[in-house]
């Protein structure tokens, strides 16, 4: 039933694995950013407090960038139109890309997390598997967001311009730099509609307060709803008969 979906996922993974430069960048860039973040905050207590939010932000950023650019490239090279002319369904295409990109988003997530814990010596509470599972959920959101936003860009240059529009405001408003409660009322109101707010709240609850996934049902529900909604919208943008 999902044979074509897995074929597309496998092809997406093989493409990246056969491009050594991209693969190395996928691994090295998160390490460089995490290292810079670590050494720029010498106070261990502040690092412990801020790193979970930074992890959520970086997962969103890298996942968005990877999937957005890669999906857009399919369109500019014409391979997406070729795929749309084949018997594969929209679910196969979206699911295939999601699975493929997600593998690398998870890889980046694990690199960031274990580097933070074992090299930067960041303390955390809570269950390791639950933290990783929640980070994967942020990764799914990031990939969905990248695929959806790529529908609005005509080339890679335009796609890159979406980063300051989609990611940077979330960095300022969602509690990475200042707690949301200290922001002006209208920004607090805005923060409620931004998915990174829930990503940061959730990961802080797990890593700093030692809570479990059962305690952050609201955050999980919002992220799942966001990811699902974005994928549905991406699916609409992919429909045959409107691929011009």
């Amino acid at each position: 039933m999902f044979s074509n979906m897995f074929t597309i996922a496998q092809r997406t993974i093989t493409q990246i694995l056969r491009d050594p430069r991209t693969l190395v960048l996928i691994i090295i860039v998160p390490l460089v950013i995490a290292s810079l973040f670590g050494v720029s905050i010498p106070d261990k207590m502040i690092l412990n407090m801020t790193l979970p939010a930074m992890l959520a932000t970086l997962i969103l950023f890298f996942g968005f960038l990877l999937s957005g650019i890669a999906f857009l490239r399919e369109r500019s090279l014409g391979t997406r139109e070729r795929l749309m002319a084949s018997p594969v369904s929209r679910i196969d295409i979206l699911g295939g890309y999601l699975l493929g990109f997600l593998l690398f988003a998870i890889l980046q997530t694990l690199i960031l997390f274990f580097y933070s814990v074992y090299v930067l010596k960041v303390d955390f509470r809570g269950e390791l598997w639950q933290i990783i599972l929640f980070q994967i959920l942020i990764g799914i959101l990031a990939v969905s967001l990248g695929i959806f936003i790529s529908a609005f860009a005509r080339n890679e240059f335009q796609m890159v311009q979406f980063i300051p529009l989609i990611i940077v405001p979330q960095v300022f408003v969602c509690g990475l730099i200042f707690p949301v409660s200290q922001l002006p009322d209208y920004l607090q109101w805005l923060a409620k509609f931004l998915p990174l707010t829930y990503g940061i709240d959730g990961i802080r609850a797990l890593m700093l307060e030692g809570k479990g996934l059962g305690d952050i049902g609201k955050e999980i529900s919002v992220l799942v709803a966001y990811a699902g909604g974005l994928l549905i919208l991406a699916g609409i943008s992919l429909r045959r008969g409107h691929s011009a």
Binding site: R11, D19, L77, R82, L83, R240
Partner: protein
Amino acid sequence: MKESAIKIENVEFNYGHLKVIDHVSLEIPKGISFGLLGSNGAGKTTSIRLMLGLLKPNKGNIFCLGREPSPANAVNTGYMPQLPSLYNELTVRQNIDFFAHIYGLKNAQQRRKRVDEIIQLVELMPKRDVSVVQLSGGMKQRVSLACAIVHQPPLLFLDEPTVGLDPELRVHFWEYFENLTAAGTTLVISSHTMDDAAHCRQLAFMREGKIIAQGTPAELRAAVGKPDASLEDAFLFFIRHGEVKSNVQ
């Protein structure tokens, strides 16, 4: 007359306010090579996209092998786009194998056999494990053709398949195409070169989204009224005489 592979009934298509296809009706018999000829922007690629179901007509109906274009029917069609549209990082074999799989060749052993056959057909065996990015333009075109025909579709759309090919490779391509029609495949080929047109069994001349003439190459040449008229003369003749509705059949 043979049964129709494609039937287009009074189709109109607009990009916004721009009319790109203007009340086109067309019937293409099965098992022939049919050329859509016209200059750039005449509506050839849009016509092919409409026939593939990638675009939806604003008016009119399209039937491919008796059914409306849809993903379920796409298994009976092959498509070679104007650009090679391949996965550059993947090898020749990986690209063809991918398209073979999504077009329904699920059995790994059978697929492998078929992929090898098709690589041999397009004479790329020595390059089978080379990344597409390392191939020349002509080789990429051959891989692209292989991806379009690997599942042996009865109906094949080729959008400017010989653009950028050297004369020798163009001859090879037409040999492949003639073998395909001999085996019963219907080919719909868009082109703006009269070399390609001469190889087609039937032609439609397109201009500004309309079909201005339709018939066999001999019929179109004869319409000019000069004994030594070429297809280029015929094309210019129909352009100068405006819309010659219907065809010269």
